[in-house]
């Protein structure tokens, strides 16, 4: 189907443009901000570090050359995953990020999966059975949790379950000196509480949106027509309602990834897991700008890629999107 393929190509092109804009944004912000450009680029420790290192880095960044050349070799460096040098941590930003990123993914992916599945179940159930007990319980609860600042939930969870009840460890990735299967279970034991907190945040964000979509679909005409054709309620729900809730569900999961990334950053700080969150927190504490930019770039890439995948799935799931009429000039 021509329109299907051209739809996907157009989507990919659109995301490439967005990624380029993000890179330019990331490149321009330090050079535009007030203050000493050298510090803005290298971080506040640049003033203290020994001048030899500064000279080498200045050469490497070519701070004196024109903005355009800096931009070109900034992009060139990006392709070799060279995100710059963090003076504070005195190591390449890209290495720092690569280890921490997998810890964060270890936190985000299970939370994303569980929260999507659970919110799909509860959202559909509450959408179809309005006013029942679960609906009256879940809706206000998810609003309250949605309104709760992320760190509050994390703090409460940590202090009650870990500190008072001692069910879970007080934080940190995993106790060292273990290997193989025991290490896996140990990290699982350490990560259990943060993942549940992130899942609860994810569910609160998704449940209401899904409940809305299901309620809207259940009131559509074709559901009444299906009922008039003698299908029993189960097949109607399975075949029509859930199938139609898929596109909005995919779109909402994509948008929700950003929310989860933010939640993960804060949760890692509180549970002191060495993921992107703590990295970002230290970078902010010491104003280590290359590291901040690196974290920002990587986090944004993960969100962009997940949204690209979701957009394509959305296009495949809902044929109407593929050939929506775009009359360029409208009635004026």
């Amino acid at each position: 189907m021509l329109s299907g393929r051209s739809f996907i190509l157009r989507k990919i092109l659109r995301y490439c443009v967005i990624i380029l804009i993000v890179i330019t944004l990331n490149f321009l912000i330090p050079r535009v901000m007030p203050g000493d450009p050298l510090i803005n680029v290298l971080g506040e420790d640049a003033a203290l570090a020994d001048p030899a290192l500064i000279a080498k880095l200045e050469l490497k960044y070519g701070l004196d050359s024109s903005l355009w050349d800096q931009y070109l070799d900034y992009i060139g460096a990006l392709f070799q995953f060279d995100l710059g040098y963090s003076i504070d941590k005195s190591s390449q930003v890209s290495e720092l990020i690569s280890e921490n990123m997998c810890n964060t993914l270890l936190l985000i992916l299970p939370a994303l999966a569980i929260s999507s599945a659970v919110s799909l179940l509860t959202g559909s159930w509450c959408g179809l059975h309005r006013g029942k007990f679960l609906d009256r319980l879940m809706t206000p609860a998810s609003i309250i949790i949605y309104c709760m600042p992320t760190f509050m939930l994390a703090m409460i969870a940590l202090s009650t379950f870990a500190f008072h009840l001692q069910w879970f460890p007080l934080g940190h990735q995993s106790s060292s000196g273990l290997s193989g299967l025991k290490a896996f279970f140990d990290t699982l034991y350490h990560l259990a509480l943060p993942i549940t907190v992130l899942t609860i945040i994810g569910i609160s964000g998704k449940h209401l949106v899904l409940r809305n979509s299901v309620m809207q679909i259940a009131d559509e005409d074709f559901i009444l027509v299906a009922r008039s054709k003698g299908y029993n309620e189960e097949t109607i729900v399975k075949r029509h309602v859930l199938r139609n809730v898929l596109p909005p569900f995919i779109a909402m999961v994509a948008l929700n990834v950003g929310l989860l990334v933010e939640g993960a950053v804060i949760i890692e700080i509180i549970f002191s897991l060495n993921g992107m969150g703590t990295l970002l927190y230290d970078a902010v504490m010491y104003r280590d700008y290359p590291l901040i930019q690196g974290c920002f770039l990587v986090l944004t890439f993960t969100v962009l890629i997940s949204n690209l995948v979701a957009d394509i799935l959305y296009g495949l799931a809902d044929p109407r999107i593929r050939d929506s009429a775009r009359c360029s000039e409208e009635i004026r």
Binding site: L2, S3, S324, A325, C327, S328, E329, I331
Partner: protein, 227 residues
């Protein structure tokens, strides 16, 4: 006289598919006569209507008002032209802004051509009387009025500023028989004493024969037959 000369309109769908709704249509509308346009749904009738009153720009072709080319008019001249050609749409419910009363919409129409208050109220009574629109409904909101009344009010509003031409895009297809008869009679009476040119678009054969002097038949964007 309002003429369309081999007008055609092409929409570009987001999937790149080009769909031309109107292919090389030319028609002329003279004052005091009713020109009918027949065709099944999706044959480009409504698009031609929008092009005729210059709400939608045509891809190619010319529009002449008393053989003066108006297709390239912009801003001031365009709104001047638009005041002489009015249009009434098919769906009465969306014809009025739900947040204002019908009287406010009438005053908006009057203000378009700078009528003073008493000229407006006198014109208003005259039109409401001829279209049989009850004056007690003037201060109601559109949601409190039935479809038939709303369509009458829409026609009153479009005739408020004495246009030379009036385009009706299936005005009565959403209404039932007796309201359709009432509204059609009202329009015909106005055509006589105000000598307005009417382009009446419908897919109901009997109504077209009963109301129009000339009928154009359209199929898939092209004019096929005249009677």
């Amino acid at each position: 006289m309002l003429t369309l000369e081999n007008v055609s309109k092409e929409f570009v769908l987001s999937s790149g598919r080009r769909f031309n709704a109107v292919k090389d249509v030319s028609l002329d509308l003279n004052k005091g006569s009713v020109l009918g346009m027949m065709g099944d749904s999706g044959c480009g009738k409504s698009t031609t209507a929008l092009i005729a009153c210059r709400l939608l720009n045509q891809t190619s072709g010319k529009i002449l008002l008393d053989n003066m080319d108006v297709s390239s008019h912009r801003r001031k001249a365009l709104s001047q032209f638009r005041r002489s050609v009015q249009i009434v749409f098919q769906d009465p419910i969306s014809a009025f802004d739900p947040l204002h009363t019908i009287r406010w919409s009438f005053s908006e129409a009057a203000a378009a051509s700078g009528m003073t208050a008493e000229v407006q109220s006198e014109r208003q009574d005259e039109l409401c009387q001829s279209m049989d629109f009850p004056l007690c409904l003037l201060d109601r909101f559109p949601s409190e009025v039935s479809g038939g009344e709303l369509q009458r009010a829409a026609i009153v509003r479009s005739l408020f500023i004495k246009p030379d031409y009036l385009i009706l895009d299936e005005p009565t297809s959403m209404l039932d028989l007796s309201t359709q008869a009432q509204i059609s009679r009202g329009i015909l009476s106005i055509v006589q004493n105000d000598s307005i040119g009417i382009l009446w678009i419908t897919h109901d054969e009997a109504l077209a024969k009963a109301v129009c002097d000339r009928i154009l038949y359209m199929k898939d964007g092209m004019l096929v037959q005249q009677s």
